[in-house]
Amino acid sequence: MKTSDMKKMTYRDALRLGITEEMHRDENVIFMGEDIGLYGGAFGVSAGLLEEFGEDRILDTPIAEAAMVGTAVGAATTGLRPICEIMFMDFITLGMDALVNQAAKMRYMFGGQSQVPMVLRLPAGSGIGAAAQHSQSLEAWLCHVPGLKVVTPSTPAQAKGLIKAAIRDNNPVCFIEHKLLYDKVGLVPLDEDYLVEIGTTVVERPGKDVTIVAYGTTLAKAIEAADFLEEEGIKVEILNPVTLYPMDMKPIIESVIKTGCLIVAHEASKTGGLGGEIVARVVESEAFDYLNAPIIRLGGLDVPIPFNQELEASVVPQRNDFVHGVYRLLNRE
């Protein structure tokens, strides 16, 4: 792609661009959430959309997630394609029945009669001092429910391509956005047909010595670590599963076969986290025979996210955790 077909913008603006294009493309796409109208959404993603699309399509809801998600599900099964913003991912707890018992199950339990094309946008993760009830990374819960798709873009370009693919998908898609990414700037394709296909894992950085699988802001820390290690001649290969479910394991398995070393990382609590699933799939595969060292799982501590900035940072994997992990795998410590 030529850079002239790209524009530098934030992750937030890229999301808005993707949503705007899809709302122009299909008038059945509507957008609902708390304070997404004039206020522009808690993280500014929907700023200006009310003026552009009007209040029939940009719907401010009461602070009532059960009704909001259920309404999105009901609208989706009857012909609309709602995007639903949950202000903080933590609040999906209040809308879980509609998501887990209704949206995820309907097609199957009705014998294929219905489809639920909706996108649930979920700002997640720690790092903004929002403490325990506004900072969680609950993606493993969602990946555990057959019938849902779960995606998480880590760059502005991915944000645009993936939100468009999610809106066009005929299933309920949980779209996780790490809050620290909203201000991140990157080149974004302006092509209205640019999509990041659901079900792909992206090789963010080719390498040969150690494989790191990471997403969200943890990915950025892995990249920082890789930059640092490169100066020492260590080439880390970084893979980003932008679709957490159904995850494309092939590039991960191929990478492990090449490097023989694996670090899997996420911000979510380690116990029951998605890292365990990725590791299990690697050791179940032919890559097992190529492993040179025990796999390392970097995850959030098994504690709620604390308020104090230093405590908060200490809960989730940082750059040096990756560096030390790589050293350990390569017996350099």
Partner: protein
């Protein structure tokens, strides 16, 4: 008073009998161990489900409760496919994957029975939002039981429906018990319809065993919602004769209470009305009952003769294919 044609009365009487015979048959199959899983019968409260659905216009939508057989029959579902679904057969509405609790006919506007108490309220709001947004002129009729009105989904959804003036009619079948818990132990109000006041929408309490009361009230409510005036809450007071499901040994009520309500049986009440008003001859009435019964016997034959789902169906229909 809404004028009822003979043709409509005929349909009403046929369907209320169909509902009764359908569930009597299911009850028998359960007793014989020929049906597995949860079966929630609505015998005693059929007038509500059947007559309210008969008040709908072509293209209107419904969301059924977990006790939804009479509602489904009223809406016009094929009893053959319903029975096949209850027996888990491949020919059932859900190809045998839903069972009694999830009977749906989405293409025709039956958004499905819901196994989660109160799960249908918000879904109905969404379906109603689609009607409003696409200006279809159609209304959503949402069924639930008395117990469901204590949950947050009820209150959140009524509030949302009212604020957004959605074309939805919430119909609560108050059968006096939330599973085993009598209503006076799970809410501290006399009439559930009073809850409408909190959301500034019309609320009506009706005799759910009176076919005319149900039909007339729902007709008016649908008209109101269709006119864009917003949602309506209706409480139909009624009673279920059977336990909550087959596992219920009914320690919470005495037989006398059941007998008292049986004196107000909705099927009998309708029959008496037809006789009183000499609308049909005894012979015609008998013929309708016989035909309704025969349709259920035939449904069971159809279901019994139907194949079980193929094992590979277990992996089908988790996700929808294609993209928009």
């Amino acid at each position: 008073m809404i004028e009822l044609s003979e043709e409509l009365l005929l349909r009403m009487y046929y369907k209320i009998n169909q509902a009764r015979f359908f569930e009597a048959k299911l009850d028998e199959l359960v007793a014989k161990g020929k049906v597995h899983g949860a079966i929630h019968l609505s015998m005693g409260q059929e007038a509500t489900g059947v007559m309210s659905c008969l008040a709908l216009e072509e293209g209107d939508l419904v969301s059924l409760s977990h006790r939804g057989h009479a509602q489904a029959i009223g809406f016009g579902l094929d009893v053959n496919l319903m029975m096949a679904e209850c027996l888990g057969k491949a020919t059932g509405y859900c190809k045998g994957k839903g069972g009694s609790m999830h009977i749906a006919d989405v293409e025709n506007g039956n958004l499905g029975a819901n196994g989660v108490v109160g799960g249908g309220f918000s879904l109905s709001c969404g379906a109603a939002l689609t009607q409003k947004y696409q200006k279809t002129g159609k209304v959503v009729l949402c069924f639930a039981g008395d117990g469901a009105t204590n949950g947050g989904n009820f209150h959140e959804s009524l509030n949302l429906a009212s604020v957004w003036k959605l074309p939805v009619v919430f119909l609560i079948e108050n059968n006096q018990y939330g599973m085993s818990t009598p209503i006076e132990k799970h809410m501290n109000i006399e009439n559930i319809s009073d809850r409408s006041e909190a959301y500034n929408m019309p609320g009506l309490t009706i005799d759910g065993n009176d076919f005319l009361d149900v039909y007339n009230t729902v007709t008016k409510a649908l008209r109101y919602a269709r006119a864009g005036k917003g949602p309506v809450l209706i409480e139909a007071k009624t009673y279920r004769y059977n336990g909550h499901s087959q596992s219920d040994n009914q320690l919470y009520r005495d037989k006398q209470e059941v007998r008292e309500w049986q004196k107000k049986d909705p099927v009998q009440k309708m029959k008496e009305y037809l006789r009183e008003h000499r609308i049909f001859t005894e012979k015609q009435i008998q013929k309708m009952e016989d035909e309704a019964k025969a349709s259920i016997d035939q449904a069971l034959e159809f279901a019994n003769a139907s194949p079980e789902p193929q094992l590979n169906a277990v992996l089908e229909d988790v996700y929808a294919g294609g993209v928009n």
